[in-house]
Amino acid sequence: MTSLLAIAVVSAGVLGYEVLLMRLLAIVQWHHFAYMVISIALLGFGASGTFLALAQAWLRPRFVLAFAANAALFGISALVGFALAQRLPFNPLALVWEPRQLLYLLGMYALLTVPFFCGATCVGLALIRFGDRIGRVYGTNLVGSGAGALGIVLILFQLTPPDSLRLTSLLGGVAAALMCLGGGQWRRSSVTWGLAAAAVVLPLAAPASWTELRPSQYKGLSLALTVPGTEVANQASSPLGLVTVVASPLIPLRHAPGLSLNNTVEPPAQLGVFTDGDGLSVITAFDGRSEPLAYLDFTTTALPYYLLERPAVLVLGAGGGADVLQALTHGAAAVDAVELNPETVRLVKAAHGDFAGGLYSHPEVRVHVAEARGFVAGAAARWDLIQIPLLDSLAASTAGVHGLSETYVYTVEAFRVYLRHLRPDGLIAVTRWLKLPPRDSLKLFATAFEALEREAAPEPARRLALIRGWSTTTLLVKNGAFTADETAAIRTFAAARSFDVAYVPGLRAEEANRWNLLDAPYFFDGATALAGPRRADFIARYKFDIAPASDDRPYFFDFFRWRALPEFVALRSRGGAGLIEWGYPILFATLVQAVGLSVVLILLPLWLGRRWLGLAPAPARWRIGAYFLALGLAFLFVEIAFIQRFILFLSHPLYAVAVVLAGFLVFAGLGSAAAPRLAARSQFLSRMSGIEIAVLGIALFALAYLALLPPLFDRLLALPDPSKVAISLALIAPLGFCMGMPFPLGLTRVSARLPQFVPWAWGVNGCASVTSAVLAPILAIHFGFTAVVAIAVLLYMTAALVFRAPLGDPRP
C-alpha cells in the first residue's frame, strides 16, 4: 500500500512538474518555445524504458533503492535542472541568426529531460517489480498523474510559480521516503534514506536565487523596467498567468497602439499591465472627464461609435480597460466588459481602483470574468456593438508566435455566435495589428464572410467594412447592409484621421491607398477578391494561409504555407526574416526532433542490444512495438482532441485542460485497475478479448461524442460552471475508463509471456506519447480535430488487431 502511494506521489509530481514547467518557461521565455522544450524533455519517459531494458536484471532485486533513488533524483533535478536551464544564455529570438543558440537549446533539453527520466523510471520499475499487478500499478500511476495535473492548477492559485516548483520538487523526496518506509530488504539502507532526506531538505533550503525567475531581457516587462523610475507596483500570480503592474512616473507609458498621426493629445498617466512579462495593456488614470481621453477618438477602434447611437457595448478582452473607457467616452449606454483573468480584474477594480477612477465599478459598466466566446454563446443579451480589441502584443504578433495557439474567438462558428447576439443593425468590430503582406485582416475578412454566408445573410459583401491606419486595421461586420450614409460616415471618419478605407461596398481602388501608401492596395485587392466570386482561387493562390479558421481547425494565427517557405528562407537574411510565421515551423521542427531523438536515444539502443537483451523473436518484437506505439499515439490524440472540444463547453481553456486531463487520467486509472477483472470475465462472456472489448468501447464512445457533443453542449452551455464540470466528468468517465484498459491488458500479456519486453514496451509507449502531443496539433492544422479522433480510433483498432494472436511461448 505504501509502495502504491509512493508511485502515486511521484506520478503526481511528474505531471505537476510538466504543467508547472509550461508556466515557468512561459514567464521566462515565450509560450511556443516552452511547448517545444517540454515536448522534447518528455522524451525522458521513453529514455527510461531504454535504461530499464538495459539495467533491469541489476535493478530488479534492488527495487526499493532504485525507486527511492530515482524519486529523490526526480525531486532534486526538477529544481536544480530548472535553476541551471535559466542560467543558459538561450535567446530563441536570435535562433535565426545564431547557430550556437542550438547548442544552448540542446543544453535546455538535456537539463529538463532528467526529471522526466527519473520520474518515469520509478513507474517503469514498479511495472517490472509488480508484473502480476500491472493494472493496479498503471492505474495508480494514472490516478496520481491526474491528481498532479489538477493539483498544480489549484496550487498555482495559492503559491507563486517558484514556490510551486519547490513543492513539486518536494514530492520526489516524499515519494522516496514513502518507498523507504514501505520497502523490504533495503529498509535500513543509509544511502536510500540519505537521498530521500536530501530530496526533502533541498526544496526547503535551496537559496531563493535558485528558483528566482529570470525573464528574457527582450520581453516587454524587462524592457519597461530598464526605463528610469519604472518599478513593479503590484504582482499577482495564478495558473492563467503572472500579472505584473508597472508604474513609470518619470517617463509615462503613453500606450495607445495604432494612434492616428493627426492626434495631438498626450495620453494621461497609465499603469502597465503585463501578463507573463509581455502582452502590455494599461490601466489609464480616469477622473470622470473625457477631455484627457480625447486621444481614444483617434484609433481605428473608434469607428463603430460613429455609426451607432448610444450603443450597448460588449468588449471581449477588456484587460486594463482602455476599450471600456473608449466606449464610455463615446456615449455607450452600457458596457459589458469580459476579461479572462480574474487577477487583472481584481487589480483594476480593487488594488488600483482609485487610479482607474472606479472604471470597473462604474454604474454603466458590468465586468464579467469569463472566456470571450463562451460568454457570448451562453449570454441571453444582445448588443449593438461587440468590440474585439487587440488581444496580443505587437511583438508577439510580428514574431508569428501564436501559430500553434488554438483560439475560438476568431473562427467562423464564433462569428456566427456573435452575429446572433447582435441587435438589428448592430456591429462586430475586430481590430488587429497591421502586417505586411496582409494576413490577419484578410483571414478575418474571409472568416466573417463565410460566417455571414452560413447564417444565410443576404448580400454578405454589403455587410463588411475594413479600415487601416499605419499600424492597425479594424474590420466591421454589420447585422444588416451598410447604407450609403454609413459608408460616407466611414469615409469621413477615416479621412479625418489619415486612415485608409480598405473596403466598403462600392469602394474604388484609387480611394483605397491615400494616406498610408502601399506598393499596391493589397488590403483592398484582397478584401475585394474575398468578397467576390474569386474567393476560393484567391485564398488558394495567396502565399499565406488566409482560409477561414473553424472550431475544428481553430488555428487563426497559423498563416504558414510550405510552398512559400523556400522564398521566405531565401529572403531571410535580406531583411525578410519578418515574413516567416514561426508557429508551424517550430511545431514541425519539434516533431522532427522528437521522432529523431526517439529513434536515436531509445529505439536504436534497444535494437542494437536486442540479442544481448534477449529481445527475440522478431515478429513478437514488432507486434509489441506496434501495439504500444499505437496506444501511445492514440491515447493523447483522443485526450488532446477532447480538451479542445471541452474548451468551448467549459468556457475556459485552463479549466478545460485541468478537468479533461484529470478526468481522463483518473478514469483511465480506474479502468486500468478494473482491467484484469474484465479480461477474466471476457473469456466467459464472449469470444472477444479484454483488449477488443475495451477498444470497441473506445470506438463507440469517441465516435458518438464527435457527433453528439456539439449539439449537447449548445443546449447545456447556459448551465452554471459546477454543473458543467460535473457533466464533463460524467461524459469523460466511460471513454476514459475504456482507454485505461488496453495498456495494462497488453502489458500483462507481455509480462506473462516475454517479461523482458516490459521496459521496451514502456519506452515505446513513452516515445509515442511525446510524439503524439506534437503530431496532434499538426494533424489538426491540416485535417481538423475530428480527423485526429478518427485516426486515434483507427490506431486503437490496429492495436487490437496486432494483439489478436498469442504472443508466443515464454522464453526458455
Partner: protein, 230 residues
C-alpha cells in the same frame, strides 16, 4: 560634413567592404521608396568608413560586420547593417540637414547620420546605453552628434525643427510633438517589429502643406500572391 576617420591599418577593413557588398546585393531585392533598386551611394560610402566594431560589445566584435542584428544589452540590439542602410536611405539626408534620433542604442545609426548631415540630436531612454554611446561617439570624433538621456516623447525642440527623424525604439504610436518638430517636406522612419526582426518600415512624410502621409514598406520585395499556372 566632417571627413571619415582614417581606415588605415584597420584589421576590419576587408570585412567592412564585404558588408557593403552584401548590402548592395540585398538592395537588389528591395525597392527603396527613394532610389529604386539602388541605395544612395553616399550611404554606402559612409557605412564603408564607419568602424562598426567600435559600436558592438567587445565579445561580439568578430561578428560586427556580419549582416545581422547584435545584442548590446538592456534588451536592445544594434540593427542589421542592411536595415541601417535602408532606413538611412529612406530618410534622404543631405548635408545641411538636422536629424533627430529617438533611441541612440549603441550610437551606430547616429554615426551614419552624422557623416551625411550637419547635426544629429539623439535621445536614449536607458541611461547606461545613453552614457556609453555618448562617450563612444565623442571618442570616435563624431562632434556633430549631441546626445541626451531621457524621454523621447517631446522630441528636442531646441535642436529642431528636423529634416529627418528616425525612431529606432519600437513605437506603439508616433508622439505628436515629433510630427510638429518635423519640417514640411521632412521624413520620419519607424522600424516596426521585434528586437531581432524588422517586420516592416514606416516612412512618415510631412507634406509642404503640413499634411502627413505614411508609406508602408517591406525590407524585401515580396508579392503576396502566387502567380497562376497559365
Amino acid at each position: 560634413m566632417p571627413g571619415p576617420p582614417a581606415a588605415a591599418a584597420d584589421p576590419y577593413a576587408a570585412e567592412r567592404m564585404q558588408m557593403i557588398q552584401t548590402i548592395q546585393a540585398h538592395a537588389r531585392f528591395t525597392r527603396s521608396a527613394r532610389a529604386g533598386e539602388r541605395l544612395d551611394a553616399r550611404v554606402l560610402e559612409v557605412m564603408g568608413n564607419i568602424r562598426r566594431h567600435e559600436f558592438v560589445p567587445k565579445r561580439l566584435r568578430n561578428r560586427a560586420y556580419a549582416d545581422r542584428p547584435l545584442p548590446i544589452g538592456y534588451g536592445q540590439t544594434i540593427s542589421q547593417p542592411f536595415i541601417v542602410a535602408l532606413m538611412t536611405d529612406l530618410l534622404a539626408v543631405e548635408p545641411g540637414h538636422t536629424v533627430l534620433e529617438i533611441g541612440t542604442g549603441s550610437g551606430y545609426q547616429a554615426a551614419v547620420l552624422a557623416r551625411l548631415s550637419s547635426r544629429v540630436c539623439s535621445i536614449e531612454i536607458v541611461p547606461e546605453l545613453g552614457r556609453s554611446a555618448a562617450k563612444r561617439l565623442e571618442r570616435l570624433g563624431y562632434g556633430n552628434v549631441e546626445t541626451r538621456i531621457g524621454d523621447g516623447y517631446y522630441g528636442w525642440p531646441s535642436c529642431g525643427p528636423f529634416d529627418g527623424i528616425v525612431v529606432t525604439a519600437a513605437a506603439g504610436h508616433v508622439p505628436p510633438p515629433l510630427i510638429e518638430q518635423l519640417k514640411p517636406g521632412g521624413r520620419m522612419v519607424i522600424p516596426v517589429g521585434g528586437p531581432f526582426t524588422t517586420q516592416q518600415l514606416v516612412l512618415v512624410h510631412k507634406q509642404a502643406d503640413g499634411r502627413v502621409t505614411t508609406r508602408q514598406l517591406l525590407p524585401v520585395r515580396f508579392v503576396p500572391l502566387t502567380r497562376g499556372r497559365r
